[in-house]
Symmetry: C2
């Protein structure tokens, strides 16, 4: 579609371009705008239908939004902001540089500005920070007929009308009615008769990750957010919950590969910023390699006497690292999805011990046989076999215990992933290796 | 809540237990049932409200479902199955052992059985396999008033009434109307006047992962599924899309830690099955360690002359592995989210080369200085510094190129993660290390 847009732009065929844009989906148009040059973006944006422009604007990348805010007139900005949902407007403000923030706020209505400022007060990872203050709420004694009339009148400016929240006079949340219930009820029925009273809600300070998990568990389309006095203040909708889920997943992948998590996309983040995210952990992990190096030095006699031992260092280190990262990945994920709790530590350990015995046993036998056939040296085969078995036991144990330990110390288990485990297992497995060699090979 | 249920069960206070169950959320009850003993499960299940039982049943773990199917009478099974949505019934059938499948199908109505069998024909990872055939569809010339009447009559048995699909006489999909549009329109308006005509739909054979991505992009609540002749055959709802997203993520985590992906939860999967998922890759990766071992042996002279060289093997291997897994994780994720395509290979490589120069440079300087201060040996410091620099370059290059290569060969890039990269980088970095040492240290 981008090619088509550029072609029409070059031909200055604005009429057909306008038609193309009016038929396309908002998300697709936003994606195209992100790919255009800065000056083309403004031209295309001005051709959009007025009532779709705000929605498309909200879906664009922060960079594109910034470009447009710089280019558009005050009137145009005012028109977009007035049609944007509060939560999208807050996201925009969060990403813009300070001078453009002022520009956006100056072109917002008094009420919008107040609402935006209110939302910006919530802590970064809280339910409050991802909620919208635009929702449908009705009072208990409203009838179905009145409800329809009210929704018809106000409905278009609400982000979701699929769930209607029922409050009492003091704005305390007392029930929910789904659009489905509303459609199926008789016109004179009161909300209090059809509402579900056991409402599941979250506090504004609840962690946004926990909120996202609730969507997965309960299959909700929206969750109401209440303040500390259980007064309804907003809702979190499922599209924002999905965004939180994918963000958290990306962050876990990054942490588990020894990187500082980043909110930027890979291709958009600068080389220097990526360097900064990666170098810290590399230096930290390198420190522990120094310990491993020291350990090897202290066994200099062993490999001076039997030089072939050195050639098994990579295999023992890699196998230990791989065994450990398998266990740590499983446990980190199980902790993230609440399948495993810190109190399950012994159950998990016992499970990994049994897996380690099977895995270690197999590796020991396969390699023992291979080495005996290759070198015709039984003691070497036994040394490597025993080392592999104990390395597997150790790696799987550290792999499952360290993430749980991290969690119980209120640290993020994701940092106890593959790179950390590998570096720790290395040192220990080499100690095992050289000691078994010294013991069995008469060095 | 489980404790409370067990307490009430032991006191045989069924009245209060019934009250507790009637007030709780379905998802919470399902979770509690999963935690109870087999015989308690049936007791509690029989106390549930009839109209909630099927929904709760659909949310339980496969094990619990199996236990209950074994215990319940034919009549009870028939009652549950008749109230279950088709897609949930298909999921149930998928998980049950053959003898229980027959029992469930024998207790289903003729139409339900036919619908289930129809659904089971779709390929495992296709849109068809996760869709439901229960949706609201209306014809073009239906008026808003008629629409409301029809929904009131049939609405309760439809999984979602929030989006209504508009078809022509031949069941071709021609438009969609949201419940919102319906609520806001005048009673005599025809569907053809308010429907959105540019409907985004998917084919039954579309990969379910691609379908899930569309939910993220377009913020839909449901996507219509059409057959090869674009006739409407079902819809995929957002709750199923979220399940697909989390499943795919879990699988990626597993693949990236060198494990065969598994659909079972960590705590529920048997030790032997976990062993099987883990051992294959460990053995494959071990093969390549043999190569690395061979390489070391061929440089025996080098470390016989300068034994201290051996003590740097772990640091060089670990740093190479960590550098590589950072790059591969970023690229694998970017490929998974379609942010990077195979044709971007040169752009990505150039980016990683620049990051590698910064990272490698920093590591080289920090370590060079550290080694010089510790050993007062300038040539050793230079050898390690240069080796680290080139190892970083090599690791980042392999880390970004191999996942893209895998993708262009139609293999899953996730397998080119940390363990695979680490093992490959090891061999190459040791060749670099010993050659630079031989060159600069006059061995």
């Amino acid at each position: 579609m981008v090619e088509k847009i550029i072609e029409l732009l070059e031909k200055e065929n604005f009429k057909e371009l306008k038609l193309l844009l009016s038929e396309a989906n908002e998300a697709d148009i936003a994606e195209c705008l992100d790919e255009l040059d800065k000056n083309k973006q403004a031209v295309v944006f001005r051709l959009l239908k007025k009532d779709e422009a705000a929605d498309i604007f909200a879906r664009m990348d922060p960079d594109t939004q910034e470009n447009l805010i710089e280019t558009l007139s005050d009137n145009e900005i005012a028109s977009i902001v007035s049609k944007m949902y509060i939560d999208d407007a807050v996201d925009l403000i969060d990403e813009l540089p300070a001078n453009l923030v002022t520009r956006v706020l100056n072109n917002s209505s008094e009420t919008k500005r107040k609402a935006i400022n209110e939302m910006l007060k919530y802590p970064e990872d809280s339910a409050g920070s991802i909620m919208t203050t635009e929702y449908s709420s009705l009072e208990e004694d409203t009838t179905v007929e009145e409800a329809f009339n009210r929704i018809r009148k106000r409905g278009l400016t609400k982000e979701t009308i699929y769930t209607i929240y029922i409050t009492d006079k003091a704005r305390y949340l007392v029930g929910v009615v789904s659009a489905k219930d509303l459609l199926l009820a008789e016109p004179q029925t009161k909300m209090s008769e059809i509402m579900e009273e056991n409402v599941i809600s979250v506090n504004t300070n609840e962690d946004k990750e926990e909120v996202a998990k609730m969507f997965d568990k309960y299959d909700f389309l929206a969750i109401p957010v209440v303040d500390s006095e259980t007064r309804l203040v907003g809702i979190v909708t499922i599209d924002d919950a999905i965004d939180v889920m994918s963000e958290e997943n990306e962050e876990d992948f990054e942490k588990m590969a020894a990187m500082a998590p980043s909110e930027e996309d890979y291709m958009k983040e600068s080389v220097f910023s990526q360097y900064r995210n990666r170098i810290v952990w590399l230096l930290v992990l390198m420190l522990s390699s120094i310990v491993t190096g020291k350990i090897i030095t202290s066994y200099e006699n062993a490999f001076a006497a039997v030089p072939i031992l050195v050639s098994f260092i990579p295999m023992i280190m890699d196998t230990g690292g791989n065994c450990g990262s398998q266990a740590s990945t499983m446990v980190i994920r199980a902790l993230a999805t609440d399948e495993v709790e810190t109190r399950d530590v012994l159950k998990v350990w016992w499970k990994e011990i049994r897996i380690a015995m099977l895995v270690g046993g197999t590796l020991a036998i396969v390699n023992g046989v291979r080495i005996f056939l290759q070198y015709h040296d039984l003691s070497l085969a036994i040394v490597i076999g025993i080392t592999l078995f104990f390395t597997a036991m150790l790696a799987k144990s550290l792999g499952c215990l360290l993430p749980i330990l991290a969690k119980s110390l209120k640290l993020d288990p994701a940092y106890m992933a593959s790179p950390m485990i590998t570096t720790m297992v290395d040192a220990c497995s080499l100690v095992i290796f050289f000691n078994i060699a010294l013991l069995l090979m008469n060095i």
